[in-house]
Amino acid sequence: MRGNFLSFVKKESLHILRDVRTMMIVLLIPVVLMILFGFAISTEVNNLNVAIVAPNRTEGVRQVVDRLANNPYFTVVGYDSSIDIDAALRSGKADAVVVFDEDFEHLITQRAEGIDTHPAIQFIFDASNTNIAQTGTAYLQNVVSADHLQQELLNLHLLYNPQMKSAYNFVPGIMGLIFILICAMMTSVSIVREKEMGTMEVLLVSPVRPIKIILAKMIPYFVISCINLATILLIARYLLDVPMSNGVWSIVIISVIYLLLSLALGLLISTIASSQVVALLISAMVMLLPMVMLSGMVFPIENLPTVLKPLPYIVPARWYTEANRKLMIMGLPLSAVMKEVAILIFMTFVLMGVSLKKFKDKLE
């Protein structure tokens, strides 16, 4: 009966290959998402428009302005002795305004001598977007106060991601998302489609064991996901320069476990959903959204209110993302993520068990 299993796998692959549009989408989603999150969407703040107000263009002022102008994060959009600050911010011409005191040089010298004075520089920031404002003021402060305003009190070291590239943070999360999307959504839709079309009934009346029908469905999607995994890893390594200093195999291993888990999830959805639309909705609303919000991919889990804190423990993507971060960014070996691996394997078995049971019950 191995022959009929192979003819099933062949059939499923044909379904996928014939539907060129869907296949292209499935293969391109990871590339698009990776590039989007890697380059276009980032929590870094780039190209801040800064207007400068300086009544006297003294040597000290010039130095600070030069530093700002030469910094890739800032664009100096105005340099004047006085401007309408409110108008500049309101019109959106500037995101921030840096105001130098008339007596800038004098104040700096006094400060250096330890005399308490009023501030020499003022930042006025458009805080309508709090993210930009927070990061931006921090940047500004760093650039402006580089040498004179304060001595280095702290010694700051950012490990693993010294340039704070947001791509590093996103790649593991994106992987968690894409595999759920493709494995769970595509398998559930393709199983439900057969129910909807009535072909499932014919298959069930045939001597093929139901478990074989399901396995045959999963194999092509598993293969596609492996292709996606390869694409993602290549983009991450060569386009986004994600370190992966401990080699790629530990990442592949944990990803394969996660793929199996996603397939089981897809099967579970297919047993609940009665139509393709419902399957899509469940995958998108009930799974994708909580996954984005609770996996720590975008919003730190630590920030959740106490009531919601237990939720991320049951979100598989959270464990995968966490492990992946350790493996990809920190360059830890597989032995460092054994806890995550164990949890994911456990979840996979539970999901597989439940969904196979439910699938069988449904048939009766």
Binding site: N4, L14, H15, E201, L204, V205
Partner: protein, 246 residues
């Protein structure tokens, strides 16, 4: 070994408190076209599912093609053909790929598949459509192909669940010619339908009401018994007494 291909006694299926099929007993002879009628909700589908090995009876006994419906569901599946009311080939596969898939499911060898596919396609005048996607065929053709594929493994009995639903009268006529042809070849046909003119084509007809078989005979004798001109009348007289709604 008797000459009955299907033989059931007191077959019952309950879902919780609800008795969907209530102690039905009947025999189907080898090579006959057996019409299995009943209003919606009468328990037809449940009965058919038990005969196809899809669902286990709650009580009673029966054999299909010599296999026990209680214990040998998997063997039954191997020896029957099935065509459902929904068109159930794959639209995104070609005619040949569909044939190959189902032949593969029933364990036909490559050479045998090739031989039978050629024969079937020739019989249907489909040879030129071998590599056409099934989705682009007219419904009537699909239906015929469906039947041909349901019988590709030469089953002893074929179950047809409302095979002509939504098909125009001419195609229905052609479809019934195929059924006759298959029956002449010795295949037993077990068919459900809502069209009473089709009931007239059957060798014998059973009518289910409220989970029980209320009548079973040749169309001619049933009409005589109920003193009516048509099967349509017979069906209405019997179904009028139904307690179950839709």
């Amino acid at each position: 070994m008797n000459d009955y291909i299907i033989s059931v006694r007191e077959l019952t299926k309950c879902f919780g408190d609800f008795t969907s099929v209530n102690r039905i007993s009947f025999d189907v002879q080898r090579g006959e076209i057996f019409g299995f009628l009943g209003a919606n909700g009468a328990g037809k589908t449940t009965a058919m599912r038990m005969l196809c090995g899809l669902s286990y009876p709650t009580s009673g006994s029966g054999t299909v093609a010599g296999w026990d419906v209680m214990r040998e569901g998997e063997q039954i599946k191997r020896h029957i053909g099935y065509m459902s009311q929904k068109f159930s080939l794959y639209n995104d596969l070609t005619v040949w790929e569909n044939i190959r898939l189902f032949a593969g499911i029933y364990g036909l060898s490559k050479a045998e598949t090739e031989r039978r596919a050629t024969e079937v396609l020739e019989r249907l005048n489909f040879s030129s459509e071998r590599n056409t996607l099934v989705g682009s065929l007219p419904l009537g053709w699909k239906q015929k192909l469906s039947f041909a594929i349901a019988t590709i493994h030469r089953p002893e009995v074929v179950f047809l669940d409302e095979p002509t639903g939504g098909v125009d009268p001419i195609t229905r006529r052609q479809f019934w010619e195929m059924i006759y042809e298959a029956a002449d070849g010795g295949t037993t046909i077990f068919v459900t339908t809502h069209y009473m003119d089709e009931a007239e084509y059957c060798t014998r007809v059973s009518i289910m009401v409220d989970g029980e078989v209320r009548a079973l005979d040749t169309p001619a004798r049933l009409k005589k018994q109920y003193a009516t001109e048509s099967m349509d009348e017979v069906f209405r007289i019997l179904a009028r007494g139904a307690k179950r709604g839709e």
